[in-house]
């Protein structure tokens, strides 16, 4: 119990500090209040035109489609992650050392940091955009189930952190780690479902995506929000897909820990 209380204190302190640190840049976050709705308007007209002669497309209605884009945008504000970039900067400047001599697992620090950073995102990106979507654009954004949606978004939050953190760890090996990061972010951008619902991809690719971790960052929570999950003609009940998502998070966390240990071995081996 005492252990958990101490951990929570660390989370609180680090999150608070990160929140204050980034508050100075809240106008940066507020760019989203403009960009999010503008993208949504474009999507609205694109899909209205596409749906003008049909009711269903790949099993989705227009209203679902619009909800999908609204929801992925909003989920993006909650789960957005910069752990990889942070970690790479620490490694490159040698400042990682100042974490190695403190009694804290750096990934736990990164998690706490992300919580602080995203609370800021909640206030300056998520809530304003939610209001614009709901009250100005009149998009129906009531989730099918608040319970499963919250769990799924929380899992996506962790998933994104563990994946990005693992990518960030490559900085211990590669001088040019930014290349890996950019290629990864590109792949994530395409295959997480942020671009277009994954059911639009060719069937063979959809089958592959079933087994890749990308969908758990964006597509899965968005479909849980909508209340219906299908990919590659496989329909999965919501509790099951959230369960799968949890398994994916655990596997990614374990993998991330493995890479972390290898990285630490290297760090303490050559002082990279």
């Amino acid at each position: 119990m005492d252990f958990i209380a101490r951990k929570l204190k660390v989370v609180k302190a680090v999150a608070l500090v990160t929140y204050k640190e980034w508050s100075a840049y809240r106008t940066h976050s507020m760019v989203s209040i403009f960009v999010g709705p503008v993208y949504f308007i474009v999507q609205y007209f694109i899909w209205s035109a596409v749906y003008s002669r049909r009711t269903y497309l790949n099993g989705m209605e227009l209203s679902e489609m619009l909800t999908y884009f609204g929801v992925t945008t909003l989920i993006g504000y909650i789960t957005m992650d910069f752990a990889d970039w942070n970690l790479q900067m620490l490694v490159r400047t040698g400042k990682f050392l100042t974490f190695a001599i403190r009694p804290i697992h750096h990934r736990f620090f990164a998690l706490s940091q992300k919580i602080g950073h995203r609370i800021l995102g909640l206030f300056f990106e998520f809530i304003p955009c939610l209001f614009i979507f709901v009250f100005i654009f009149k998009v129906d954004l009531r989730p099918a189930s608040y319970f499963w949606t919250i769990i799924s978004v929380a899992l996506a939050f962790l998933m994104n952190l563990y994946m990005n953190y693992t990518i960030g760890l490559t900085a211990f090996w590669l001088v040019q780690a930014t290349g890996v990061r950019r290629v990864y972010l590109l792949l994530q951008g395409i295959f997480s479902g942020g671009l277009i619902p994954l059911v639009f991809f060719p069937k063979a690719l959809q089958k592959l995506l079933l087994f890749l971790p990308f969908q758990y960052v964006s597509y899965v929570p968005a479909m849980v929000y909508i209340g219906r999950y299908t990919l590659a003609d496989v329909s999965v009940p919501i509790p099951h897909i959230v369960g799968l998502q949890a398994v994916a998070v655990i596997v990614t966390a374990l993998f991330s820990e493995l890479v972390y240990r290898l990285s630490m071995k290297r760090f303490s081996g050559v002082g990279a």
Binding site: V31, F34, V42, V50, R182, L186, G189
Partner: protein, 261 residues
């Protein structure tokens, strides 16, 4: 005078090329990522048409033609004016714009010339390939249509330049905001699609006020034989917009000089 400026410009291109050659791997990666991240929106179009849906009264290749033109314009803008924002931003954060101001050349020219960067070369080639493929599927093209296309395309490139300069000018006031381009990218988004899918009010804005329709839509429409009177009227706001960008940037520099950083 002009010859001096051309010499400077050529010198800057030479430096840019040799920098790219020194960091070859990075250069190739830049090019690759620029290409892939920009073909995402034609990809969405492909996926829509691949699912059996369409934009009403637009064939796949007609839409792709708009997006190919937009891609070429983006690539040209990235190469020739893409760096102005970042270099201006850096100078303002570090308070080092004086280094540029004390040079005996036009400050705006120098900032633009010294940031020529060929990271979007592959993107341009990709755009041209896409353009050629799309064009070969849309029916015969007359000489007149090509001339119209060239005029409209160049106007579109001017709009791109105007946007770059407005962004750079904004960075004087909104110091260090690396998300600035997102705002303008989101507005450019409107130029990537057939304008008749948008609400009339929106397409009026994208044609005459922030003329992003000129980047992709109007030049492509010319090749489809659909360049009407509006397209040519829209050239005027393009030049007003671009001049606005130049004047705004100059104004910011004067303010900066007055305030002494």
């Amino acid at each position: 005078m002009l010859r001096k400026y051309i010499r400077i410009y050529l010198e800057c291109i030479k430096i840019s090329v040799s920098t790219a050659m020194t960091y070859r791997l990075n250069f190739l990666l830049d090019n690759f990522i620029m290409l892939v991240s920009n073909i995402l929106f034609p990809l969405v179009t492909l996926l829509i048409y691949g699912s059996g849906a369409e934009f009403p009264n637009w064939s796949l290749y007609e839409v792709l033609l708009i997006q190919a033109v937009f891609t070429m314009s983006t690539a040209i803008a990235n190469i020739f004016f893409g760096g102005v924002l970042w270099v201006t931003m850096r100078h303002i954060i570090e308070g080092s714009l004086e280094i540029v101001l004390i040079k005996p050349v036009n400050c705006l020219f120098y900032l633009v010339a010294s940031t020529v960067e060929f990271g979007s070369l592959t993107l341009f080639i990709g755009g041209v390939v896409m353009f050629a493929v799309a064009l070969s599927h849309v029916g015969p093209v007359s000489i007149l249509m090509i001339l119209q296309f060239i005029v409209l395309f160049l106007s579109g490139v001017c709009v791109m330049m105007g946007i770059s300069l407005i962004m750079a000018a904004t960075s004087f006031k909104w110091v260090g905001n690396s998300r600035l381009p997102e705002i303008f990218d989101s507005i450019k988004y409107f130029g990537r699609y057939p304008q008749n899918i948008f609400h009339k009010a929106i397409s009026a804005v994208t044609s005459f006020i922030i003329p992003v329709a000129m980047i992709g839509y109007f030049p492509a429409a010319a090749l489809l034989g659909e360049a009407d009177f509006t397209a040519f009227i829209a050239i005027l706001p393009c030049f007003v917009f671009t001049m606005g960008g130049v004047l705004l940037f100059r104004h910011m520099i004067r303010l900066y000089e007055g305030a002494g950083g």
